[in-house]
Amino acid sequence: MDKFARLDAAGVVQEVCDAHALATHEPKLAATFVACPDEVVPLSTFIDGAWTIYTPPAAPVSPATLPLLTPMTLYMAFTPAERIAIKTSEDPMVKEFWDMYQLSVKLGTQTDPNLVSVREALAYLAAPANPGPGGGILGSPERVAQIMAGIPQ
């Protein structure tokens, strides 16, 4: 080992240095450093003779951005049975989804599958048929992912 750690009163590593740097420190301060394994980093602990290596929390992984869906791509991502079920549904949530789709056709705009509102609408279509009247149009949660990716059926 040629790595050394300076600890606070609670045994938490404040800094680490190598033997060359330690040799330049004045003796009283140098005596407060203890030899440590190479993997020790600040915030690791040395308590009752045992090292616990600090592991930084993993950075949140942002979901991959899905490409925009043209009106035709979105339409073809549903099966014929799903499209019929959506068009004939009396559920306000499903009717709203269909209205939104028709508006995108009318305006010639693309649908962003990354929007929370789109994700929630598709999740609603995949919800169990009982108790909601609109649920059950999509057979499984996997269909949501397929539609958001614009995979034609």
Binding site: Q14, E15, A23, T24, E26, A30
Partner: protein
């Protein structure tokens, strides 16, 4: 605190400023190193030298230590410059010279570093969520950072206040530079801010209220809150919305 001037003749102490006012360090400064790492200083002239070390900043400012010794031409004297820490994660690194003097870095949360082994010791200023503390210096402890969410960083002789960095007041590292005023960031519109004045030598950086923009601190100063926050050598930075803390440094001056 013991002042070096009371122990060694020929050195400026409190009230005996050596500042030149021309923006340049004294020619007697033969080493000013703020790059982290361990290296050697090899004097070209045998003589009496002032040696000073400043611990690196994190949230708290780095400590300061200074002494005087005779160094021999051609001999290698090892020294270490501490690397800046990260508030909430790591303390600033210790700076040392030749196993004689050391100054620890500021802690990752609040506490300033301390000096040891020499003739003059001082502590870095306390940092807070809103800003960082200044480094210690040859005339005293560094100023505290302002705890406000829009706090200014500490200066050598003055704590930071809301939006404004603390002033230096003294030539804290004995470089011969003019002590600076605390930085202020100026709001120009309702939704945008432009940097105003940065902190001068030994002074803290400023911050703005609405956009949390900071101005950089000068050498030794702590930084304020917000984007652009950059502490000077040995200065700390805010623990929330932090910028960049300052590395430590080693100073060697030929004095006789």
């Amino acid at each position: 605190m013991t002042y070096l001037s009371s122990l060694v003749t020929g050195l400026a102490g409190p009230g005996l400023s050596t500042v030149q006012g021309n923006g340049a360090m004294k020619a007697s400064i033969v080493l000013f190193d703020s790059r982290p790492g361990t290296r050697n200083f090899v004097p070209t002239v045998t003589g009496k030298y002032r040696r000073a070390v400043v611990g690196a900043g994190s949230n708290g400012g780095g400590g300061y230590e200074e002494d005087v010794a005779t160094l021999t031409a051609g001999v290698s004297y090892p020294y270490t410059v501490g690397a800046a820490g990260v508030p909430g994660t790591s303390a600033g690194g210790t700076s040392s010279f030749n196993s004689v003097i050391s100054a620890t870095g500021g802690a990752s949360s609040a506490t300033g570093g301390v000096g040891s082994g020499g003739l003059v010791s001082s502590s870095g200023g306390v940092g807070s969520a809103g800003s960082g503390g200044a480094s210690g210096h040859r005339f005293g402890n560094g100023g505290k950072g302002c705890p406000s969410a829009t706090g200014g960083g500490g200066g050598w002789s003055q704590d930071g206040s809301v939006c404004v960095g603390g002033n230096a007041g003294v030539d804290g590292f004995g470089l011969g530079l003019v002590p600076g005023l605390g930085g202020v960031a100026i709001i120009t519109t309702a939704n945008a801010a432009t940097p105003g004045s940065p902190g001068g030598y030994g002074a803290g950086g400023g911050a703005t209220v609405s956009a949390s923009v900071s101005t950089p601190a000068g050498i030794g100063g702590g930084s304020g809150t917000g984007s652009g926050a950059c502490a000077g050598i040995g200065g700390g930075t805010a623990s929330t919305s932090p910028g960049v803390a300052g590395n430590g440094c080693v100073i060697v001056e030929l004095i006789g």
